[in-house]
Amino acid sequence: MNQQIVISGVGGQGVLFITGLLAKACMAKGSHVLTSETHGMAQRGGTVISHLKIGDYASPLIRPGNADLLIVLKSENLAQHRDFLNPRGKAVVNAQTTFEKSASTAITLDADKMAEDENNPGSVNLYMLGGALAVTQVCSLYDVKEQIKNRLQGKPEALLTGALNALDKGYNQII
């Protein structure tokens, strides 16, 4: 299945981290993956964007109008990046439910609040990834959990529990 996913946020939110998790989860299922990432000055709190292409592609970049899924970690980025979506594409946006509904494609998830309520402020990206996994079929919640376990091997147990919990909560919110 060829799939194109854009992940957008600001430097420090962990856009690269969840791009890597998704990419590895898809790779583990035998798919080819290609990503393009933002490094350098923009990582200091500026707008960052990752492109993730799963399947038979040569180019690492997604052209406007071609993305199947857009994951937006900072709601203000939706205006900037929504044109990446194809007409059937879906956006999962970190925002309160009162967030503008003009785009019927936008599904909201208040990850900032969830993270704050659960005192898990560094995991906004994982709540969002969980939510996105409820929308996409590129890989399953389980596949991503396996990757998180790999990544956090040898790290304190609490870190892993927190990460898996964030993923679950995000997923359950949308499903």
Partner: protein
């Protein structure tokens, strides 16, 4: 399990590094710079993982020094590589030009990563033009996987013709990730052996002329070397028109041409070695095709070598933009136009995003705030690094290139001869000071230029991912090295007023700043070393120990002074309440902002324990 076991998700820079290691590279050097920085870090990681004890890996103090170290290894017979970003090649251009004449023994690769866009650079320069100018062959990878393969190809080419070879990846190759299979590492049982030959390695101008002739001969042969020749990707197609691509544009073009259903309509050629372009290819393509479209980044290097301007469309003909990144949506429009079909994707109107800013708790913010207080209406020259972002605070007026903050400050000081000379304050990071600040400072001392240099000493090369500096005292493998004392270096340059202070101890720091500014105006160059570590380099424990809980009290009337003049991302203006609040997820508890609010409405909360 499956084939995925041997595959790794690799950044282009990692893949390139893997290529170096797989092919017996024995010395690798670099100076960090986006988008090239992860190349050397990855080489070091594999050296460690594969226990490659006889491999020398190091950060050089700048690109010129890095180049010369690796080049010496090559003329001693070892495979060597040096990596840098494109503007780094400007710094290394002197040895680069000369090494082309002298040639090499062990394979020698210069990796110069370009940044069309530019995303994180001062210029969009095309390193391939440098290769042309130096008369050195250049390879242009389209993906992480190909970058890895080109390391092997490059070494072979370099050794076959005893010539340095450039590999020129771009941001979209360096910072793409792809599933790449690992190949085993080929051990090369070779030890260094420098054969003396002063006629070559120290050639005088008379011999340089002979070497130049030899270089031209080599280039002719390289333009016929089979292994790097362009290929037609769809050879069964016969067409009048042809599209020629290289680098990441080749990757984009493959997808675009397939999606537009043109794969069986137009011949697509990929060039791997843009310079020297293969002679036979030039002849063949001009004889087989009436119209040729060339898509490449950033300058029309291939286009330039296709002599028939009337039949070639590209940057020079106006068909392809000469500036900016050649994004796939732009390419799609150009290809569709060339073949008279409709493009499918639209061009996205570029909307402004969020601008980058210094991290919450960054010591540079405190330094800049003090500079503006101590030298209001000053001229603020600055340099390359995170601290370029001092621009947001109105504390950076100029940024030219690595090291220029000092020479530009001196230049401004000499330009104003009368008493209208404003206070002049240069800011430069520790890594940049080592890289190219030192000669400029000596010059300023000799010329008695009245300005203050503030060395923002955070003990690291922060912007590019916290690489060590010569003052850090450890190398790329984490090994202990000598730590160079910045104070001694500064005083050794002839500066007699050199003070070190901690910007996070703000009131004290401001006093030092005022004194230093005053001293410099009267007495010639002075230096203030602003020393405090980058917050990203601090351990969790240190952060916890230093944390001071900061709160906003009722005096806050939402004037916004702290947000606009100090711009700590943890200070957030409440839209409705017209109050500032502290974003506790970002705040590092540095406490500097209590000195910022004119109404004293930010205060440190002493905990009730």
């Amino acid at each position: 399990m499956t084939q995925t076991d041997s595959k790794q998700l690799m950044l282009g820079n990692q893949a390139l590094a893997r290529g170096l290691v797989e092919n017996g590279c024995r010395m690798a050097t670099a100076y960090p710079g986006t988008p090239s920085s992860e190349i050397l870090t990855s080489v070091a990681a594999w050296k460690k993982q594969e226990a490659l004890d006889d491999m020398h890996v190091q950060w050089g103090i700048n690109e010129k020094v890095s180049f010369e170290i690796a080049y010496a290894g090559s003329i001693a017979g070892l495979r060597c590589a040096v990596a840098m970003k494109q503007v780094g090649l400007n710094v290394a251009s002197d040895p680069f030009m000369s090494a082309a004449y002298l040639g090499v023994k062990g394979g020698f690769l210069i990796i110069s990563a370009d940044d069309p866009g530019p995303h994180s650079s001062q210029t969009e320069q095309d390193s391939r033009l440098y290769a042309m100018s130096a008369k050195v062959p250049v390879l242009d990878p389209d993906s992480p996987e190909q970058a890895r393969k080109m390391a092997k190809l490059g070494f072979e080419l370099s050794e076959a013709f005893e010539i340095p070879v450039m590999i020129r990846p771009t941001t979209r190759v360096c910072h793409a990730r792809q599933d790449v299979s690992l190949l085993p590492i080929t051990a090369r049982e070779k030890s260094a052996e420098f054969e003396k030959n002063p006629g070559r390695w120290a050639a005088t101008p008379k011999f340089r002329y002979i070497l130049h002739n030899q270089l031209e001969e080599k280039l002719k042969k390289i333009a016929a070397w089979e292994d790097t020749a362009p290929v037609c990707l769809n050879p069964s197609v016969q067409s009048d028109k042809a599209v020629v691509v290289a680098g990441v544009s080749a990757a984009h073009a493959r997808d675009i041409i397939k999606e537009l259903d043109l794969w069986d309509t137009v011949r697509l050629y990929q060039v791997f070695q843009p310079f020297p372009l293969h002679t036979a290819f030039v002849e063949q393509i001009l004889s087989d095709h009436s119209d040729i479209l060339v898509l490449e980044e950033t300058t029309g290097v291939i286009e330039m070598q296709l002599a028939r301007r009337d039949r070639v469309q590209g940057k020079k003909s106006g068909a392809v933009p000469e500036t900016g990144e050649l994004l796939p949506e732009i390419m799609e429009g150009i290809i569709a136009g060339f073949l008279s079909v409709e493009p499918k994707s639209a061009i996205m109107e570029s909307k402004p995003g969020r601008r980058p800013t210094l991290c919450a708790g960054c010591p540079h913010r405190a330094s800049f705030f003090a500079i503006k207080r101590a030298a209001p209406k000053g001229i603020y020259t600055s340099d390359i690094g995170c601290y370029t972002l001092g621009m947001n605070l109105g504390a950076v007026d100029t940024v030219l290139c690595m090291g220029a903050a000092i020479s530009q400050a001196a230049g401004f000081a000499h330009a104003y001869t009368d008493d209208k000379r404003p206070p002049i304050v240069a800011t430069m990071g520790d890594s940049t000071f080592f890289h190219s600040g030192v000669p400029a400072l000596i010059d300023a001392v000799v010329q008695k230029a009245p300005f203050l240099l503030v060395i923002l000493d955070n003990r690291t090369t922060a912007m590019t991912g916290n690489q060590p500096t010569p003052a850090t005292g450890r190398g790329i493998m984490g090994e202990e090295t000598v730590s160079v004392d910045i104070e001694k270096l500064v005083t050794g340059c002839g500066i007699d007023y050199c003070i070190t202070a901690d910007p996070m101890d703000y009131p004290n720091f401001l006093d030092h700043m005022k004194a230093a500014v005053a001293h410099a105006r009267e007495n010639g160059p002075a230096v203030l070393i602003s020393r405090s570590p980058c917050v990203l380099s601090l351990s969790k424990e240190t952060r916890k120990a230093q944390f001071q809980k900061v709160v906003v009290n009722d005096n806050c009337d939402g004037c916004g002074y702290c947000v606009s003049h100090f711009e700590c991302p943890a200070l957030v203006m409440d839209e409705n309440a017209e109050l500032v609040h502290i974003d506790t997820t970002l705040c590092t508890g540095c406490g500097v902002c209590v000195n910022v609010c004119p109404k004293k409405s930010i205060e440190i909360k002493i905990s009730e324990v």
